[in-house]
């Protein structure tokens, strides 16, 4: 686990600095640009080798766009992406190709991400052939990969439709592993699977990471799954990072009200606990990313919002323990922790420099995480 939210020292595999991804909205006869969808709005983080970062947010928060931007499947509007110390933000296809073998992706839908007309051997062998692995070796490596992900060598000759969802996801993972990557971006790898199968896949990912020293960026829409895999977790809302924290701390001590709301919204599969638990249901829906709210983007739904939240973009404050959060009126922190907090270098460039303020309010509707002590 990395100790610091930003480590510029060695061991950093991926650095993402102030990345923005705006999509133009074109309208009318002349196809004029009428505005932009602010899908990813000034996001900074880094990823240490061997680490798993969970990237969590609701639909439309920009998590998938961000992961695609990192993979260079789309060109960022602004900012800088560095992979293994090399700036890859603007490099061309030719230069990108050798790097592609080092960064792979596993997709959400195991039914749509495998070519139905190809045999498993072709699906897994494809990337190997493309990167010049000799033919004889491809067969051997494919068989080996299938075994590593818990399938058997005989499966190589079958077609995707002959497999269940969980098995297909294993094939997708084998394909991603084929080129011995450093980084695997997992875009909701288990959301399409049944619970009993989800656990199998998560355990598999865990084992593979240990064996091959893989680094994962694990994208998910809710906080319950990522907890089991992540060292650190970043919570996104409307294109921005709201909170980034060592995994366990996020659950015991959420600082941002949005994180607390997300935690509270997850129903706990324990009826007695559920009855006791005080639930906060955040009203409303996320605003449009075309015209995001001023100041803190969450202020339209936040029960703690005050005037400053509407005017000033909160800085990402770094609290002790590598926990950063962008909130003017944070939860679960002491006056001393606020005093010690500094403006994190992860902060968006537009953010202000106002220190967060302690709210002593016994009726504060958002108080604690979901794990009671």
């Amino acid at each position: 686990m990395s100790e610091q939210a930003t480590t510029n020292g060695k061991g950093t595999l991926l650095e993402v600095e102030h990345v923005k991804q705006y999509f133009p909205i074109r309208k009318g006869l002349l196809n004029r640009v009428h505005g932009h969808v602010h899908a990813v709005d000034d996001v900074t983080f880094d990823l240490a080798e061997g680490e798993t970062l969970g990237l969590v947010g609701e639909s439309g928060c920009g998590k998938t766009t961000l992961s695609r931007t990192i993979m260079r499947l789309i060109d960022p509007t602004d900012g800088r992406i560095e992979f293994q110390g090399k700036d890859i933000t603007h490099i061309g296809r030719g230069e990108m190709r050798p790097l592609r073998s080092k960064m792979q992706m596993v997709f959400q839908d195991p039914f749509a991400s495998l070519n139905p007309r190809k045999r498993v051997s072709q699906i897994i062998g494809g990337p190997l052939a493309m990167h010049g692995v000799p033919k004889e070796e491809i067969g051997r490596r494919t068989a080996d990969l299938l075994k590593r992900v818990g399938l058997s060598a005989e499966h190589a000759n079958r077609f995707p439709h002959e497999f269940s969802g969980g098995q297909r996801q294993r094939i997708g993972i084998a394909r991603a592993l084929a080129l011995e990557p450093k980084l695997i971006v997992l875009d909701e790898p288990v959301s399409a699977l049944d619970v009993s199968i989800q656990a199998q896949i998560i355990n598999l990912l865990d084992d593979l990471q240990e064996q091959y020293g893989l680094t994962y960026l694990f994208v998910a829409h809710d906080l319950s799954v990522v907890r089991h895999v992540s060292d650190r977790i970043a919570v996104m809302y409307l294109g921005r990072i709201m909170e980034l924290s060592p995994s366990e701390e996020l659950y015991t001590k959420p600082i941002h009200p949005y994180t607390a709301a997300l935690l509270s919204a997850i129903p706990v599969p324990d009826p007695r606990r559920n009855r006791e638990r005080e639930r906060i249901v955040v009203g409303g829906e996320p605003p449009s990313p075309v015209d995001p709210p001023s100041g803190c983007v969450f202020h339209t739904r936040c029960p703690r919002a005050r005037d400053i939240c509407r005017t000033e973009v909160p800085r990402l404050s770094a609290y002790p323990g590598g926990h950063v959060a962008a909130c003017h009126f944070p939860l679960n922190v002491t006056a001393q922790e606020i005093e010690q907090s500094t403006k994190s270098p992860l902060s968006p460039t537009t953010s202000g420099d106002t220190k967060p303020e302690l709210v002593e309010d016994p009726d504060a509707p958002l108080r604690s995480g979901s794990i009671s002590p």
């Binding site: 009993s196 865990d206 319950s224 324990d270």
Partner: protein
């Protein structure tokens, strides 16, 4: 406990589909009862027959390739043998359904108000203006802001959560006695899911509608259900009250299901407990207990067909299909720290 007469009484329901590869036994020997105002959760993984059961009650699985067995009595009408006309008269009025995907269950070319008015007028003789007023009230009740204006919107102008609210309003438009909700929140974000669940809870309180909730999410179940039926490979393998299933689960499949959920309210386990293997084919099912090939506790008796019956002396409502004795089950139920909800507070207390 006083038990009012059941509103819906399903006995030995069986649904088979003929396909090119053979007969798919989608639902087999399913029996349950639903009382007024009760929330019954039907839980299971994909292919367990939970949605087919729900859709069969609405008559939505009728096709030349489907064969049905058993009965489903709603008051005096058997929903299985009813004619299409008889079904049409109760569907939407007595028994209504909301679906998983609110994006595809509304007609994109009609205004949402008109779609709900159509349903009201299909069952009741009311004027356009009166029906429209009712729609506005309904939309307000499910939490749609500025309902009087939004009634003339098209579905694409609504977000996913709003569309699901519209579906609920539509389902409730004729005050049905039963609402079937097939994965109503699966396609929605967690914060919106919380809002919709609250909406459904309020609705039950206010109108006394009984709800059949079909879901795979045990968190949602713990939030809203009174009773649970756990399905596996077309059969109900265990049924009981919410607390019985969560704190004294009898069937090894239920243990596996409860154990493999990721929990945010517990210490994080080293490894996530999982059920090995995958569900059986519904064409060629294992003999006896269908869970046998994946079960760690399989023994000689498991090749015999286990009936769904109560094996615990004092709880006749808690029934399961497992041959192990109750004591063996309680002893063998592996409960790693942080697994099921039993260990901490103690199930007996």
């Amino acid at each position: 406990m006083s038990t009012p007469a059941p509103l819906l009484d399903v006995q030995n329901l069986k649904v088979d589909f003929r396909t090119e590869d053979g007969v798919v036994h989608a639902v087999d020997d399913v029996s349950f009862q639903l009382r007024p105002g009760e929330v019954l959760a039907v839980v299971g993984e994909s292919g367990s027959g939970k949605s087919v059961t729900a859709m069969t009650l609405m008559g939505l699985t009728r096709s030349p390739n489907a064969t049905f067995g058993g009965t489903a009595r709603l008051r005096d009408l058997d929903l299985i043998s009813a004619t299409d006309d008889e079904l049409r008269a109760v569907r939407g009025k007595e028994i209504a359904m909301i679906f998983q995907d609110p994006m595809t269950s509304l007609n994109p070319v009609h205004r949402i108000g008109a779609q709900i008015v159509e349903q009201i007028q299909a069952h009741e003789d009311v004027s356009d203006a009166e029906a429209r007023d009712r729609v506005v009230t309904l939309l307000e009740r499910v939490g749609i802001p500025r309902a009087a204006e939004r009634v003339d919107s098209y579905p694409h102008e609504f977000s996913g959560g709003m569309r699901q609210r519209v579906m609920i309003a539509m389902a409730m438009s004729c005050d049905p006695a039963i609402l079937i909700a097939d994965e109503p929140t699966t396609a929605l974000d967690v914060t919106i899911q919380a809002q919709i669940l609250r909406e459904m809870r309020d609705l039950r309180e206010r109108t006394g509608t009984a709800i059949i909730l079909v879901t795979h999410d045990l968190g949602v179940v713990a939030d809203i259900a009174d009773r649970i039926a756990v399905m596996y490979a077309g059969r109900i393998v265990e049924t009981g009250t919410l607390d019985e299933i969560f704190y004294d689960p009898q069937h090894p499949y239920t243990w596996g299901l409860l154990g493999s959920i990721t929990r945010i309210d517990r210490e994080r386990p080293e490894r996530l407990p999982s059920i090995p293997g995958s569900p059986p084919s519904l064409i060629d099912r294992p003999e006896g207990c269908h869970f046998r090939p994946r079960c760690r506790h399989e023994f000689g008796d498991c090749v015999k067909y286990p009936a769904l019956e109560s094996r615990i002396p004092d709880s006749p409502g808690h029934q399961d299909r497992c041959w192990l004795s109750v004591d063996e089950k309680r002893a063998r139920r592996e409960i790693a720290p942080g697994q099921i909800g039993l260990e901490s507070e103690g199930a007996v207390a």
